[in-house]
């Protein structure tokens, strides 16, 4: 949900006014994330070393009344190459708690696919590494996954003696691909069928720190070039995630499968898969060396991926190895340095060297 720059002062003004009013009548806390980057790349078109501002994230979470909560999150995002920035309302969700086993939310929220997407999202300081796995990029950064949804979201948990179980169910507008960019359809749904997402996760009390999750998304997706319909597919996304976080070890592994059936050309089906695995080891509560391997193999005959690839090249059939180290100045403040080796079958291999200072506030 992008806000153009002309609205920036207006939105900021309203926000600051709300802050002022609220601080007088009913206090709430504004939180956020911010980071500053340095990147040197050996990729031919990006060989100059650069400092850059990362996203500036603000969020507020408050009780509206005894049973109702509201969460508002917006991001001020520098626009690469434009010397400009955009504001995007990432989430606006109202939640009503019915019981410990069921909470209903409405609005715009994160999709429930996978671990990284649900756990860290725009909270860059929370993740161990500098960057997300590259197939989990946000929609407007050339991402290939529906990361946001607009609709209804039910969630809850149940504890047994041995397991802590959690579930999420989403009924939302199906996303579309508009001129090569995934759009979660904030204002209207262009298909009659809604997108359905599910996630189940289990933690074992007998193996503290271990968590397994399975999630899926089914949606009809249309693609548009301008106002002309370009393609129509029925898409299934399935994901499996396994994580282990227990000092000093951390492990994350996620595997995604995208299956699609072409709705305009009978009998055409497509399947793509990608995964990553990341390990880290904490030394003396503050230093975490980490490494990650990512793999992406996409069927570019799929009109869905083909449309995205034309605007933001996906770097298909590529592998990325990352090695880095994170130093925690405190629980909410860290500095990280990492090197990335990108090996792919379409362009020359290249390396990246990055440093980032990230905070939560």
């Amino acid at each position: 949900m992008l806000i153009n720059n002309k609205l920036f002062l207006f939105v900021t003004g309203i926000f600051l006014t709300l802050l002022t009013i609220s601080s007088a009548a009913h206090s709430f806390e504004l939180h956020g994330f911010g980071h500053v980057n340095f990147l040197q790349s050996t990729e031919s078109k990006k060989d100059q070393a650069s400092f850059s501002l990362g996203e500036l994230v603000f969020y507020i979470s408050e009780k509206v009344d005894d049973r109702t909560d509201i969460l508002i999150e917006f991001v001020v995002e520098p626009q690469a190459g434009k010397g400009d920035f955009e504001i995007e309302i990432e989430r606006l969700q109202l939640g009503y708690i019915v019981s410990n086993a069921f909470k209903l939310r409405a609005g715009r929220f994160h999709s429930v696919l996978g671990f990284w997407n649900t756990e860290y999202h725009h909270g860059v300081q929370l993740q161990t590494s500098i960057e997300r796995p590259f197939f989990l990029k946000f929609e407007h950064d050339g991402g290939i996954m529906p990361i946001h949804a607009v609709g209804l979201w039910g969630s809850g948990g149940y504890n047994t003696n041995t397991l802590n179980l959690n579930y999420d169910v989403i009924l939302a507008n199906g996303s579309k691909v508009q001129d090569g960019i995934i759009d979660p359809n904030n204002y209207t749904d262009d298909t009659h069928n809604k997108a359905v997402s599910l996630r189940f996760a289990a933690e074992s009390n007998k193996v503290p720190g271990f968590k397994a999750g399975i999630s899926g998304n089914y949606a009809p997706v249309k693609g548009f070039k301008g106002t002309t319909e370009d393609f129509r597919v029925k898409q299934e996304i399935m994901a499996l995630d396994l994580t282990y976080f227990r000092n000093p070890i951390e492990f994350i592994g996620e595997y995604y499968i995208f299956n699609a059936e072409n709705d305009m050309v009978s009998g055409e089906n497509y399947s793509s898969g990608f995964f990553y695995t990341q390990v880290g080891y904490m030394i003396k509560e503050s230093l975490i060396p980490y490494a990650r391997f990512e793999n992406i193999a996409i069927d570019l005959n799929s009109p869905y991926f083909s449309a995205i690839n034309k605007v933001n090249p996906i770097l298909n059939d590529s592998r990325r190895v990352i090695a880095g180290v994170r130093y925690n100045l405190s629980h909410v403040n860290c500095i990280r340095a990492e090197v990335r080796f990108i090996d792919n079958d379409t362009i020359a291999d290249f390396n990246e060297y990055a440093v980032q200072w990230a905070v939560s506030f």
């Binding site: 939180h31 979470s61 939640g95 708690i97 649900t118 756990e119 948990g157 504890n159």
Partner: protein
Amino acid sequence: MKRIIIGLLIILLSYTDSLAGDRIVIIASHSFPKDSLKPSQIKEIYLGKIEIIDNIRIQSLDQRDSSLIKKDFLEKFIDFSIGDYKLYWIKKVFKEGVTPPTVKDSSEEVIRAIKEKKNYIGYVWEEEIKNIKDVKILY
């Protein structure tokens, strides 16, 4: 001068020790829907996993990060350090859009708030509620 400083330190340490040796109790008003809680329930309430008890939304009260009682409470009931607890709530609030425990400046403030709201629970030193009749001990 040296003796005075050592003497003051001994007094300070003995005072701190007396607090540290005291028992932490979990308290609520007499209108709170339960008369007792298990340690596992206290942990789940303070981690936001139990929000509703007998159809009433529970509000947990915390104390300042710098207080000795918070450090002791987190070690004994939650099995978290203050830093881990802080990070847990940053993640939970950001991920789910919930509200964390409300922080009060002192045990006195915790007791005062609990007297006013039937859905509040908090932790104080047992010594601090010796002569207070408007609250009950849940654990």
